[in-house]
């Protein structure tokens, strides 16, 4: 939203060009392992690394500095540092004035940005040179042939032209989408602070102030270091020092945000706040200073020509392998998270919060490949299974190893595992610029499987048989002929970063182990380089980095200014509240406006409850479940031993996934040769009466977890209430607990196996599905959420591929997301951890664990086995 496009990132190899690398819950060495060496080598070149996380994490052992912050408070931490920088005036004035919306004027009356037409009679919007204006419905060139941003005349009119206060003339001055960077008018020096009066065309007066001024008032009243410490736990000194360091390293500070902080309902606020911090300090678009939000590997847009594959007109198929496809899109995307949420939009009180362009349709059938996160590891998976799947008529799934998605699918197609694919393919990354071919394997298939693409093609062929329509088959012609590379070549030819490459050349090169390079503008790729160095506009209506959101929904929801909002469930305090003292521009709708009760803090209502609280009020408040013995925020980040929802899936891998791997399963209760676990601080374990290695129950809000209606469904509750090992871990802050995201969840069948098999494995007797838990899973404490600000029809955004800017829903760019997996939980001891089911887990019983260390271990920790130190090098 700040940039008008999906998100920013940079090739991780650029770390060696930086002085200061700040990592915000971005556990680089654990989750971007192939690029781990760039971070450690950047340090060898003199860079300093700072980790910001609720724990001493993997990457912290590669960092110079670390700041512990409370889960989901990254936005407050960033805004606190922004406050320090604005307070001290250590921001980069030129960058702020020329590349951001901070000098743009906001009207006090409407809270919207002032437009030129508001006060200049007869004003006609400027003709922009940085944008190609088209008529609605007009065709545009393929991505490779697009020379600038593209927008419809309708949308351009809506943009208007914005205004700043020119301190040289003491009058308002118009600045357009063209006037960014070096194209900012030379004779205009825009004010950043102050309040001014403008006479509108109807003769009335309105007060206006720069966005900077409005933000500064908010930060000075609500985000001082002392206030931020109250809410984030970060010491004041940490806030002050890091802010000073960042300001002292313009163009040389990298900000990398990770999946951990992204997995909270109000997550995008952190990106907005961190972008503000980066913009203030001139750290966007430089090799050594920019912003990267690494939430997975999400940028299909690196293959900008992908529409050649995904939107070939099935009514006008091109069978000539040398010719491009004709594109005509006959399908509409929607966020998968409405299905996840129970196959409904967000309607609460008297309001429909899901915008028209986002509106989903009920799910009749699902057909998907791999993507275990759609079902097997969906947020609130168990609720989906019990309450949503019964409404779906058919689920077809492609997979090469048996996952929980397979457990519940009606039809499972066994497809080639990745090393045994007989068809070529192509892939890229957001963290590096390599263009890689999936080389056809010399391996023979282990079973009688087919490639994913072949399954689709053969289904198409079957439709031809049933209907007589040849087009079902022709659509997959090259796949059926055994070589899909013409499709790949079409994608290459249409894309900015790939045109000029022959796929056959790439395939040959990759066979020998050498990939090609994506042809971005720069190497390393840094998104924002063209905006910073060539003054190209951003993809926003103003052309600038936008920190003020004057869309009516954002004003209504209290997020027109960058703010911190408490997590919607994963907090010790009042959930979902906006951290702000009263501010003239922050007047969000209250629950009563939606016919809701302000004291209704139920999970559903929290999604639309825009109550404002100061830092002090937040710190003193408590989560509603605290009264019932709930005590911990539980977060479930991603780790090094498995990849996303491809669960920890081989016995060799899980043997070393955390502490509970034992090939011989001395403890016969173990669901498998290893198992999932929850980490908690040693003091918390003592308080809870839980020992290292014990089995515990983990419960989240009983209103909807482990699934809605659990009270009336004892069979499913028995299978899906979460029982898991506790692991005492001194690296986590107290009162937060952590479980990894990856272990295979329990299914009805795995629980049946655990209870009926002689070996006690949690393995489905019929399918061999192997769960990583005895009962339930990490998804027993999660659920789907729908965030109102992600469902508006008003937001301007670049499409997923190419330079066209539109409005409202856009798949993978602007839509409801499935990120949040936060919860506030209660722990109860279930069983002893000793191998025979009694007493303490063996390593703890032996005295080699934190909290139970024996004398030798204590001596070891102190380095006490060498009594005098040596002096110089021998």
């Amino acid at each position: 939203m700040v940039t008008g496009q999906q998100s920013l990132d940079f090739d991780l190899s650029t770390a060696e060009n930086s002085n200061l690398i700040t990592l915000w819950g971005m556990n680089w060495i654990a989750t971007k392992m192939p690029e781990g060496h760039w971070l450690t080598e950047a340090r060898l070149h003199g860079a300093k690394v700072v980790t910001i996380a609720p724990e001493y994490q993997s990457t912290t052992c590669k960092a110079d500095r670390h700041v512990t912050i409370r889960t989901a408070t990254d936005s407050a931490f960033a805004l606190g540092m922004a406050q320090v920088i604005m307070r001290d005036g250590t921001y980069d004035e030129k960058f702020v004035k020329h590349h951001t919306d901070l000098p743009l004027l906001v009207r006090a009356d409407t809270k919207a940005l002032l437009h030129a037409k508001d006060f200049i009679p007869g004003y006609e919007n400027d003709t922009l040179t940085t944008v190609q204006v088209i008529e609605p419905g007009e065709a545009v060139a393929l991505a490779a042939g697009q020379d600038r941003q593209i927008v419809t005349s309708e949308l351009r009119e809506e943009w208007g032209d914005q205004v700043v206060w020119n301190t040289r003339t003491g009058a308002p001055a118009v600045v357009t989408h063209d006037n960014t960077g070096d194209n900012f008018p030379r004779n205009v020096d825009p004010a950043l602070e102050g309040e001014f009066t403008v006479t509108l065309v109807d003769g009335s007066s309105v007060k206006v102030r720069p966005v900077f001024d409005a933000i500064k008032e908010l930060l000075d009243s609500s985000y001082t270091p002392e206030q931020v410490e109250m809410v984030t736990w970060a010491p004041v000194a940490a806030i002050e020092e890091l802010a000073a360091d960042i300001a002292a390293n313009p163009t040389k500070t990298l900000f990398a945000m990770g999946m951990g902080p992204n997995h909270f309902f109000n997550n995008d606020n952190k990106d907005r706040a961190i972008l503000l911090l980066a913009a203030l300090t001139n750290n966007i678009g430089h090799y050594g200073g920019s912003v990267g939000s690494y939430s997975g590997n999400y940028r299909l847009g690196t293959f900008g020509g992908i529409t050649q594959w995904t939107t070939e007109d099935p009514f006008d198929i091109t069978l000539d392998p040398e010719a491009p496809a004709k594109s005509k899109k006959h399908w509409k995307g929607e966020s998968a998270h409405y299905y996840n949420y129970g196959d409904r939009p967000l309607k609460l009180g008297n309001k429909m919060f899901t915008g028209h362009s986002h509106m989903p349709t009920p799910t009749k059938t699902m057909h998907f490949a791999n993507s275990n996160s759609l079902l097997g590891n969906a947020k609130g998976h168990h609720d989906v299974v019990v309450n949503t799947l019964p409404k779906i008529e058919m689920i077809i799934h492609h997979e090469w190893y048996w996952t929980a998605s397979c457990e519940y699918a009606d039809v499972v197609f066994g497809v080639d595992a990745w090393p045994e694919r007989q068809m070529p393919d192509v892939y890229g990354s957001v963290t590096n610029s390599f263009l890689q071919a999936w080389v056809v394997t010399p391996m023979e298939r282990v079973f009688e499987t087919l490639d994913d693409m072949q399954v689709n093609a053969l289904i198409g062929q079957k439709f031809t048989e049933l209907t007589g329509d040849q087009r079902f088959t022709d659509y997959w012609r090259f796949v059926l002929d055994g070589d899909p590379s013409p499709y790949i070549q079409r994608v290459f030819d249409a894309g900015n970063a790939t045109k000029g490459y022959r796929f056959s050349d790439l395939h040959e090169s990759c066979k020998k182990g050498t990939p090609f390079y994506m042809m971005f503008r720069t190497s390393p790729k840094v998104l924002g380089w063209e905006q910073t160095y060539e003054s190209k506009p951003w993809y926003t209506k103003s052309g600038r980095l936008e920190f003020y959101r004057d869309e009516p929904e954002f004003i209504e929801y209290g997020e027109n200014l960058p703010v911190h909002r408490e997590a919607v469930d994963g907090t010790h305090h009042e959930p979902g509240v906006i951290m702000a003292a009263p501010h003239p521009l922050l007047i969000p709708a209250q629950p009563s406006d939606y016919d809701l009760d302000i004291d209704d803090l139920s999970t559903e209502m929290r999604q639309v409850r825009h109550v404002m609280r100061t830092a002090e009020e937040i710190a003193e408040s408590t989560h509603p479940l605290m009264a019932d013995g709930f005590s911990h925020v539980l977060y479930t980040p991603k780790y090094r031993h498995a990849c996303h929802s491809m669960g920890a899936s081989t016995d060799a891998e899980v043997l070393i996934f955390g502490p509970f791997g034992d090939f011989y399963r001395h403890d016969k209760r173990k669901p498998w040769v290893s198992e999932g676990y929850v980490d908690m601080h040693p003091d918390d374990a003592v308080e809870l009466g839980v020992q290292d290695g014990d089995y515990i129950w983990v419960d989240a809000d009983p209103a909807d977890r482990p699934f809605k209606g659990w009270q009336d469904n004892p069979e499913a509750y028995h299978a899906f209430r979460w029982m898991v090992r506790a692991r005492v871990n001194p690296s986590l802050a107290p009162k937060v607990a952590r479980a990894w995201f990856h272990f295979h969840v329990s299914s009805y069948g795995s629980v049946e196996g655990h209870e009926s098999r002689e070996d006690g494995l949690a393995r489905n007797p019929r399918t061999d599905y192997q769960s990583g838990y005895r009962y339930g899973s990490h998804q027993s404490v999660t659920r789907a959420w729908l965030r109102p600000t992600l469902m508006t029809d008003s937001i301007n955004r670049k499409e997923a591929y190419g330079q066209k800017i539109g409005k409202g829903f856009e798949l993978d760019v602007y839509c409801a997301d499935g990120a949040p997996k936060e919860s506030f939980v209660k722990f109860t001891k279930a069983e002893d951890g000793g191998e025979d089911g009694t007493g303490t887990w063996h390593p703890a019983a032996q005295g080699f664990r934190p909290g139970s260390e024996n004398e030798a271990m204590t001596k070891f920790l102190a380095g006490g086995y060498i009594e005098t130190q040596g002096s110089s090098n021998g």
């Binding site: 940490a238 080699f848 110089s872």
Partner: protein, 379 residues
């Protein structure tokens, strides 16, 4: 009994066999500051060597988090406890080795792990030494709350405990490269080696009933290729090559440079007295001087200073050699830094690496006229 010179202890010590250093010693230097704990090395080894019956629990290569991790359980705590507190006199070891501390009639101190000691091999992963408290929410260098990763393989010791313990002399050290191997046809599974090895890197196979251990992938090494755990290290922490005899040190050999010239590569628990040949660059972020000295010997703090000097830009040669790690599958025999480029050659004299110390940045034209395509960073 013979008297041999152990250069890591800077003195003579007792050992059952005469000093007989190999022509060159296969050796490695692991930079703990780069280890990311990914366990790719563990998987590279296991999928190749220990996926058979009886080998399920074996990790010839393992990575443990210090201080709470250990495989088998508390292997080092127990060995140190058996040895008892010892001391150094400057660079000379003033304490007892595992041989010297043996009871009368015994060749070495030792202990036998039980079955349960091999369970939970990655226990302790990512656990700091002391509990986090609000006082430790803002950490600076060095961290007074810390952990680090310690990847371990067989150290192919110069004075191996396994070798000297075997009553049947089933274990031998190759003269051509110092790799220590068990003759599995001669072995009868007495497990004296298993008890003797202070690093617990000999394993017993309950199915075949003989012992086995890391072989330094000698079939690859014989062809000039690095062992699997070394060349698959994606953190690029492992420098593998041949350590020269102490009197034949060659500065343009990366291993000699790191161990004998810059002295940043330190042995693991040198006080055991086996002269291990896998060396470690100590973790610079760990504030516990005593812990580091206990583990890596005196001089580990100087090693940290030398590493930091390279980080400041004041030792381009050391920086270059550190960047060379895992940049080729071939074993490097010689390197050269010329300005901003480092080159390396294998045993045959073929150049196997040529790379810049920093990757140059590059801008492309916005419009390629020949290909008729617009290039963007934001596609």
């Amino acid at each position: 009994m013979a008297e041999v010179f152990n250069w890591q202890l800077n003195r003579m010590m007792a050992y059952p066999y005469e000093e007989s250093r190999p022509v060159r010693q296969a050796a490695a230097v692991f930079d703990t500051n780069k280890c990311i704990g990914c366990q790719t090395c563990t998987m590279a080894c296991k999928t190749c060597w220990t996926s058979g019956n009886g080998q399920e629990y074996m990790l010839w290569n393992n990575v443990e988090t210090k201080p709470w991790g250990s495989y088998p359980l508390a292997w080092d705590v127990r060995e140190l406890e058996l040895l008892g507190p010892q001391n150094w006199d400057g660079d000379t070891y003033a304490g007892k080795t595992i041989y010297e501390a043996a009871a009368a009639g015994e060749k070495n101190i030792g202990w036998i792990p039980t079955d349960m000691d091999y369970a939970y091999p990655n226990r302790g992963e990512d656990e700091v030494n002391v509990s986090i408290t609000t006082q430790r929410y803002h950490l600076k260098m060095p961290h007074d709350m810390w952990f680090f990763y310690l990847p371990r393989v067989c150290n192919h010791c110069t004075y191996a405990a396994c070798l000297q313990g075997c009553p049947r002399q089933s274990i031998y050290k190759r003269q051509e490269d110092g790799i220590v191997l068990i003759d599995e046809e001669r072995c009868r599974g007495y497990r004296v080696c298993y008890e003797a090895c202070p690093y617990k890197k000999v394993f017993y196979n309950h199915t075949t009933r003989v012992s086995e251990k890391c072989v330094f992938c000698f079939p690859a090494v014989e062809q000039g290729i690095q062992p699997r755990c070394m060349r698959n290290c994606i953190g690029k922490i492992r420098s593998f090559g041949f350590l020269s005899r102490p009197e034949e040190v060659r500065e343009d050999n990366p291993i000699d440079f790191l161990v004998h010239v810059r002295k940043v590569g330190k042995p693991l628990y040198p006080q055991f007295g086996t002269e291990p040949n896998v060396y470690y660059i100590p973790p610079i972020h760990v504030a516990s001087d005593d812990f580091l000295t206990m583990m890596f010997g005196p001089g580990c703090l100087d090693a940290i200073d030398s590493y930091k000097k390279a980080m400041r830009g004041d030792d381009p040669k050391l920086l270059a050699v550190l960047l060379l790690a895992v940049s080729t599958d071939r074993i490097i025999h010689r390197y050269k830094l010329s300005g901003e480029t480092i080159e390396a050659w294998d045993e045959n004299g073929d150049k196997v690496v040529s790379m810049p110390l920093k990757v140059p940045t590059l801008e492309r034209v916005p419009y390629d006229e020949d290909l008729e395509v617009y290039r963007y960073n934001i596609t």
